[in-house]
């Protein structure tokens, strides 16, 4: 009995002890729960949301590119892609066999699909093939019953309906490269394309638009349960070019008759570039869907550099087209008057050095009009010597040479206007006078791009205004557009007499008997154009060769032949357009470049929408010109 009681007492004591212990541990659980759910609640709430909410970007449709009349140059087209969801498909190998019969798959595609199917979760769609033809889409839809889990996924891809014609200007889009990632998640979307060249690259920000986003709730396996919210982005803005597609097409075809050439046509008052072409070109469509290695190698290894836009990236010695700069500088610095003559014996002596005129026998006495017309080298050697490089170089810069024009294209080259400082820095040598003389005929160090030459010409003939080239417009041209104002740009401060004398010389080149481009004059007489030929030497002619007789261009290998250049404008009486043409290694400026420039100018004026020059007046003055 006592035993029992003491046992019961022991039990009671221990039971209470145990119960107390248990109560304490339960309190610990309660405290832990309080800590997790109240103290740390906000942190865990955030983690739970991170778990379940996934933001998906909605890529904006890219802005279209149009020419000045609203013709499409770059558009988005529905691209039908074949995707499959492995978990719905059953036997993947068999399904791929069926697909292969309908829309042929490469072995590489097939292996990629199988690999992705192994790696990704069953409900994640896998891209089987892009760029399905309508025919393939239709056949897949017909066979849909046999192919559960296979779907046609419409996406947008970039098309360039004009193909090669606008390749250099519009550029192209391609997949984002590693170094182009900026942290913008949009760029990391697997299918995203960005502008790599041309306007596509230069106006990337406007064209791209703003990505929308969709917040979705996902479960632990990543499957989307529902959409929680959607933030709409906005589509990329359209871009309107100043380029006239039909003219560009014409220019492209005209240039394609030569091996390698570039041309620019610019409105001398507005600076609108109505055509900017480089030949040979490339089809930008090759890039938007991923270029093949073979195509890429072909483009890259072509010595005519089809990928380069030579109109802004090609730097050429301007040759005689540079003589206008020398003339303007000389007249402005009063180094000569238009009437004063310089005698040309066929060569020019400077100390021990002898510089040759292109005409071995010499031109005799030359005033400015004749020197321009015949492109007499000796006259301009002497002019350059009188002016000096220190006054010539600044004048060139006023005419937009030696620095990028700021055209809305990537990779524009600056050209080169040499100066004493430049030579000291770049060549570690001081300037010598012989170099000034050589610069006088656009040889030596001086380099220009076709675009710069067109702008230079425009500034010469528009009344000396600092026109700046533009490639884009705020909107497409409307009908009955008012004529452009002629005073959009500030004056360069060149005297009207100087400009008139130079224009007179340029008109004579084409329209007077004996002019270097007399062959290209317009015979039907309702229109006159002016211009200046240029032939720039690529190699040095040695004394020995000169004695043996200078080899003719067509005897030389292509890459040693002279560049043929021409700058022109029209109509002579009311200049409206300036053109520059460079035919790489084309030979003579007058025989090769001038006819091209003439054809381009005529076509440009024929297509001139605003008819700034009434046809009647063109006819009236065309007959009464100097001849």
């Amino acid at each position: 009995m006592r035993q029992d009681r003491s046992q019961a007492r022991t039990f009671t004591r221990r039971a209470l002890l145990l119960g107390g212990g248990q109560a304490l541990l339960f309190c610990a659980l309660g405290a832990r729960l309080y800590y997790l759910q109240v103290v740390e609640a906000s942190r865990y709430t955030m983690l739970a949301d991170e778990n379940r909410i996934n933001v998906r970007l909605l890529p904006p449709p890219r802005g279209h590119v149009f020419d000045r009349y609203g013709e499409p140059l770059a558009v988005n087209v529905e691209n039908y892609r074949l995707v499959l969801v492995p978990e719905q498909i059953g036997d993947l190998e068999r399904a791929l066999d069926i697909i292969d019969r309908i829309a042929p798959l490469g072995e590489a595609d097939r292996r990629r699909v199988l690999r992705e199917a192994r790696r990704k979760r069953g409900f994640v769609p896998i891209l089987v093939r892009g760029n399905l033809t309508w025919d393939e889409v239709a056949r897949i839809e017909v066979n849909a019953v046999d192919l559960p889990g296979v779907a046609i996924d419409p996406g947008l891809s970039r098309r360039y309906p004009q193909g090669e014609v606008m390749g250099h200007v519009v550029g192209y889009v391609a997949a984002v490269a590693e170094h182009e990632l900026t942290g913008d998640p949009l760029l990391e979307l697997p299918d995203f394309r960005i502008g790599k060249d041309g306007i596509e690259r230069f106006r990337e920000t406007d064209l791209r638009g703003l990505a929308g986003a969709s917040e979705v709730e996902i479960n632990a396996y990543g499957r989307v349960i529902r959409e929680l919210g959607r933030r709409s982005g906005h589509a990329g803005e359209p871009v309107f070019l100043t380029v006239d597609l039909e003219l560009q097409r014409y220019v492209g075809q005209r240039l394609a008759q030569e091996r390698s050439a570039a041309a620019v046509v610019i409105d001398v008052h507005t600076g609108e570039v109505v055509s900017l072409a480089s030949s040979p070109g490339f089809d930008p469509n090759l890039f938007s869907s991923g270029i093949s290695q073979a195509d890429w190698n072909t483009l890259r290894q072509d010595p005519r550099a089809p990928l380069a836009n030579k109109a802004i990236m090609g730097q050429y010695a301007p040759g005689s087209t540079f003589k206008m700069m020398v003339a303007v500088a000389a007249l402005e610095t009063k180094a000569i008057t238009p009437e004063q003559t310089i005698h040309c014996p066929g060569h020019y002596e400077l100390g021990e050095q002898r510089f040759h005129c292109w005409k071995r026998g010499g031109h005799g006495p030359m005033n400015m009009h004749d020197a321009m017309k015949h492109s007499c080298d000796v006259y301009f050697y002497e002019l350059a010597r009188r002016v000096g490089i220190d006054r010539l170089a600044p004048m060139c810069r006023r005419f937009a040479l030696g620095e990028p024009t700021g055209i809305e294209l990537p990779a524009e080259r600056p050209g080169l206007i040499p100066s004493r400082e430049w030579k000291l820095q770049a060549r570690k040598a001081s300037w010598v006078q012989g170099e000034t003389v050589l610069t006088g005929i656009g040889q030596g160090y001086v380099l220009t791009t076709p675009l710069q030459l067109a702008v230079m010409t425009a500034r010469l003939v528009n009344g000396g205004r600092a026109v700046v080239p533009r490639l884009t417009r705020p909107a497409a041209m409307r009908e009955n557009q008012p004529p452009p104002r002629r005073d959009l740009f500030p004056s360069l401060g060149i005297s009207p007499q100087t400009l008139a004398a130079v224009r007179d010389g340029m008109a004579a080149v084409v329209n007077e008997q004996g002019g270097t481009a007399y062959a290209i004059r317009l015979r039907d007489g309702d229109l006159r154009i002016g211009g200046k030929t240029g032939t720039s030497q690529v190699r040095r002619i040695s004394m020995a060769e000169r004695e043996r007789g200078v080899r003719r261009n067509d005897e030389l290998p292509w890459r040693h032949r002279d560049h043929a250049l021409f700058v022109g404008y029209g109509p002579v009486d009311a200049p409206r357009y300036a053109v520059s043409v460079v035919v790489e290694h084309g030979g003579g400026g007058s025989s090769v470049a001038a006819p091209i420039a003439r054809d381009i100018l005529v076509e440009t004026l024929r297509r001139d929408p605003s008819r700034l020059v009434p046809p009647s007046r063109v006819v009236a003055e065309g007959t009464g010109g100097r001849s």
């Binding site: 029992d4 022991t10 221990r14 039971a15 145990l18 541990l25 610990a28 997790l36 739970a48 949301d49």
Partner: protein, 384 residues
């Protein structure tokens, strides 16, 4: 507290009396806990009685009927059956072990049609029953003799070893803890516990070597879950996120994102507490913990009220088992204990655990019904 009032010493109560003697508030508490379980299983299934809630309700109804029946059976019969039940449980454990040996993998259950019987769950109650029977036969002086502790120690170690071999570390530890509780309330001297605990502590490095890789990983993960967030630490991290994001009042019934988006696997079994804490918040969690505390308190009071040692030990043992279920499971879900496979008593989906616990509570009820019965060391009515 009416049940603490000393009733006149009775012999065997009549059947009708016994029904009246059943503590209905305790039944109500158990039903409340199970009810929370039904609601959570309904939520876990995405708002459906299938596949879990309905089955669980049927089992509870069955278990509750069993509980009443068990409570009405004379306590002496349970005392006599104690070793038999233990033996049956042990044989079942061995059977599972043998079946596992002959190549059916780590299967821990035997299919008996209605449910997949898990002998390790049954053993938890059977062990309490057997130890209660054993210590009932000893007086305080006997308990002081170490020789007489060999048999109960063997009773604990045999099933623990078998379960450990399955391998099921959680259940093995729980059996060990149950045994420890029984030794403690039977009156074994404190210093003996100290010796055993010290011995166990010394054994830890050795035991570590015997753990399976995944068990080691679980323990290491418990110590630092962030080390492997997508692998072994995934459960515990997601569980804590579910709890923490529930906040004070929860996200609302059926609205738990962690649960319904499947960030928590196995949510209907061992991690069911996370659904409660996520959807009902701290309030919901504390209510459930409170209900458990009330049931355990009831059990302790019944134990204290019992006039026989068998009843005291049995009621206290079963209550402590219930405590261990609740504490280990909650501790694991809250990241206080390593992840071991212990279900949340009466709430987690699972037949055996539900039925065993209700059987255990039936025994507690039987102790209450027969609280005034005085039993001698042989289990007969009367005193020594």
């Amino acid at each position: 507290m009416s049940m603490l009032e000393r009733q006149p010493r009775a012999t065997t109560p009549l059947l009708l009396d016994r029904i009246w003697q059943i503590s209905w508030p305790l039944v109500l508490l158990l039903t409340a806990i199970a009810g929370i379980g039904f609601a959570l299983l309904y939520s876990a299934a995405g708002g459906s009685f299938q596949p879990w809630a309905q089955k669980q309700m049927l089992r509870f109804a069955l278990g509750l009927t069993g509980l009443i029946l068990v409570a009405l059976v004379d306590l002496r019969i349970w005392l006599r059956l104690a070793y038999v039940i233990y033996a049956v449980a042990l044989v079942l454990l061995v059977a599972v072990e043998v079946r596992g040996e002959i190549g059916m993998g780590a299967q821990r259950w035997i299919d008996v049609g209605l449910l997949q019987l898990q002998p390790s769950e049954v053993m938890k109650i059977a062990l309490v029953l057997a130890l209660a029977r054993y210590f009932h036969g000893l007086d305080l002086d006997d308990i002081g003799r170490p020789v007489l502790l060999i048999v109960p120690a063997a009773l604990v170690l045999a099933p623990a070893a078998l379960v450990l071999k399955q391998p099921d570390l959680g259940t093995a530890l729980m059996l060990g803890a149950c045994g420890g509780v029984m030794f403690f309330i039977a009156g074994v001297r404190m210093w003996k516990f100290a010796v055993v605990l010290a011995g166990l502590a010394a054994m830890v490095p050795v035991a570590w070597e015997f753990l399976r890789d995944y068990q080691k990983k679980r323990v290491l993960t418990f110590l630092n879950p962030e080390a492997d967030p997508l692998g072994a630490g995934y459960h515990i991290i997601q569980s804590k996120i579910a709890l923490g994001s529930g906040g004070l009042f929860g996200k609302g019934y059926l609205l738990g994102s962690q649960t319904h988006l499947n960030f928590l696997p196995e949510k209907q079994t061992d991690f069911i507490f996370t659904i409660l804490a996520e959807e009902w918040g701290l309030v919901g969690g504390l209510v459930l913990l409170g209900l458990y505390m009330l049931v355990i308190l009831y059990g302790i009071l019944i134990a204290l009220r019992s006039q026989n040692q068998f009843g005291r030990l049995l009621a206290m043992g079963v209550s402590s088992t219930l405590f261990l279920y609740a504490f280990i499971n909650c501790g694991m879900v809250m990241g206080l204990l390593p992840v071991v496979g212990v279900p949340l008593a009466l709430v987690s989906f699972g037949g055996t655990a539900m039925l065993t616990i209700l059987f255990g509570m039936g025994l507690v009820m039987a102790v209450y019904v027969h609280r005034d019965m005085e039993l001698n060391r042989q289990g007969e009515i009367g005193t020594d």
